[in-house]
């Protein structure tokens, strides 16, 4: 191994110049990884008039911001963004590249990994640096990419031992945001953008985007329902409960798959990770993927008719009973206590 410091890159996602939260979370995690590697943290910012955003990444410990700024790059575009990134990766061969597991990140990262033939792990719930022995070979300072797999019965640790660049995507909310109190202004390296005929193959005709209607991450109280709610009709009772106590409603993946609730309200590994003051899990069995998204809540109440449901292992208060009977009692009692 040579002595040039190992580089950790974070792709900074933006829409109309507004950064995605996940990018700063990744920079915070990237800073910790670079500390372990004695390496250098760099951000990659692609867009139009996004120099301020590039500067903002210094607050998270970025030593260098790689900036590609051009009117053609105002909006995310699969072909141009992926080409810019794989050319950069091929040229500088960073040790690690991190992407948000967003619509953009999941569209972009696989192409970059494919072109550079890098190992890529999706939806990691933890990242660590460690020396590893694999097939009787020693590898120093590999990125451990940790994620639940196969129905949540196992936690897999993935490595890319022979991949010059190791890539991973991480969902929003999984890594903690930690801006530095003291930071140094790093340097901005601007890379010129060269248009390519391939970019013209796809045109965005219309983009319709609403401000996020639900912001589960900011909700102090969350009422979440699972498959155990039984039906979409039964699910309505969660809205009554949420209305009474001032909460947002969310669901497990099983509830989303069953059509009880919309996907943007999904909690868990492939949904949102939350840390509210209170999380009320109703009819949720508590698979590891779900727990990955809510186990750091301050207080957890679990309501389930199966006393052996794994959700009871992470909750603070367990109520064994039928959700359709327990929740009305909860609402009544709450209204009564308020008086």
């Amino acid at each position: 191994m040579d002595n040039t410091p190992q580089e950790v890159w974070v792709f900074v996602e933006q829409k109309e110049g507004m950064p995605a939260d996940v990018s700063f979370e990744l920079l915070s995690k990237g800073k910790k990884l670079t500390d372990n590697l004695s390496g250098v943290l760099k951000s990659v910012v692609i867009g139009y008039q996004v120099e301020d955003l590039a500067k903002e990444t210094f607050r998270y410990g970025t030593e260098e911001a790689i900036l590609v700024d051009h009117p053609d790059l105002r909006n995310y575009h699969t072909m141009s963004y992926s080409r810019i990134l794989y050319e950069l990766v091929e040229k500088y061969r960073p040790r690690i590249v991190l992407f948000g597991a967003t619509f953009q990140g999941r569209d972009l990262a696989p192409r970059v990994a494919s072109h550079t033939r890098s190992g890529l792990t999706a939806d990691c719930t933890d990242l660590q640096i460690a020396d590893v022995q694999y097939l009787r070979q020693d590898y120093q300072q590999l990125l451990l990419q940790i994620r639940p797999a196969f129905g949540g019965n196992i936690i897999a640790t993935i490595i890319s031992p022979d991949s010059p660049t190791q890539m991973a995507t991480v969902r929003e909310g999984v890594m903690e945001l930690s801006p530095l109190e003291k930071f140094t202004v790093g340097k901005i390296t601007e890379i010129p953008y060269k248009p390519d005929p391939m970019d013209q193959l796809i045109k965005i005709i219309e983009r319709h985007q609403e401000e996020k209607k639900v912001n589960l991450k900011a909700a102090p109280i969350i009422v979440a329902g699972g498959y155990g709610m039984g039906s979409k009709e039964n699910f309505q009772i969660l809205y009554s409960l949420a209305h009474a106590i001032g909460a947002e409603v969310a669901g497990s993946r099983a509830a989303v798959d069953a059509g009880f609730i919309s996907p943007e309200r999904q909690i868990g590994q492939t949904g949102v990770t939350v840390r509210p003051k209170l999380y009320i899990a109703c009819g949720i069995s508590g698979a590891i993927q779900h727990r990955a998204g809510m186990q750091d809540s301050q207080k957890i109440i679990a309501i389930n008719d199966d006393p052996d449901a794994p959700i009871f292992d992470v909750c603070h208060y367990g109520i064994v009973g039928d959700v359709m009977q327990v929740i009305p009692i909860f609402i009544d009692s709450f209204k009564h206590k308020l008086r």
Binding site: G119, V132, E211, F312, D322
Partner: protein
Amino acid sequence: MAFQSIVMVKQVPDTANISGQVMRPDGTVNRAKLPAIFNPEDKVALELALQIKDRHGGKVSAITMGPPKASEVLRECLYMGADAVYLISDRKFAGADTLATSYVLSEAIKKIGEYDLIFAGRQAIDGDTAQVGPQTAEKLGLPQITYAEEIINVKKPRVTVRRRIDGGYEIIESKMPVLITVIKEAAEPRPFKATRVMAYKNAKSLVELEEMTNANSLLYIDDLKEEFISRNLFIPTLTLDDFELDISRIGQSGSPTKVYKIDSVVLGVGEHIKIEPNKDGIGNLIEQLMENRIFG
């Protein structure tokens, strides 16, 4: 105006029914021990391709890479209306990650020939990575449209697609050929057609024919294969010998990502306070939460 579509499908373990016993020591799943199903979003992808054929004519081919057993999903593709199916199967392909998989799939697609559209499900339920679609597109030098929820218009040389993005949608126009990955809301897969089930239930891949000859010494593989081809019941199988592949890029050894460690999830012995499901129990809990300023 007819369109040639290729649909990439995958047989996946039904992840709802997995236990530790089906994992091999190296961390890969022993799929033979699991109930296997047609990956749901791939079925939606096939439906979209069939709808385009219904409206505009053309041909729909389905391909899958997997163990011999994966021909089960190819038969289901035939039941739904696919015109041709291809099994890509070789021991040497096994244990592939998304990069090695997309390499073999892209080479197979080059062999199958002309196409206007390639469809795939957004992701498979066993890994949820959503990587094989974009990586196949990249290897074929094609543009991609991921998270498609509606095909708005197809007219050579362009296709217009509505795709989901964070908090909304985008309408995208792409030149063909293009690879499109679809989400489950895009369409409701059609049921199997009884006449097609009758016609194709005996369709067999080469491996399945070999199994027949092994079980019955009166059968000869070459004769059998010829007979199945003539009855239009042969599922073509592409093995390593049918390609000129870079061996260093296939299978487990050609996969940059490795499963280093598998930890069974140990259920915590987390202590919690049991609350009775009645007025007193829940009332006390609410009081306690109010005191702790969780409420209010």
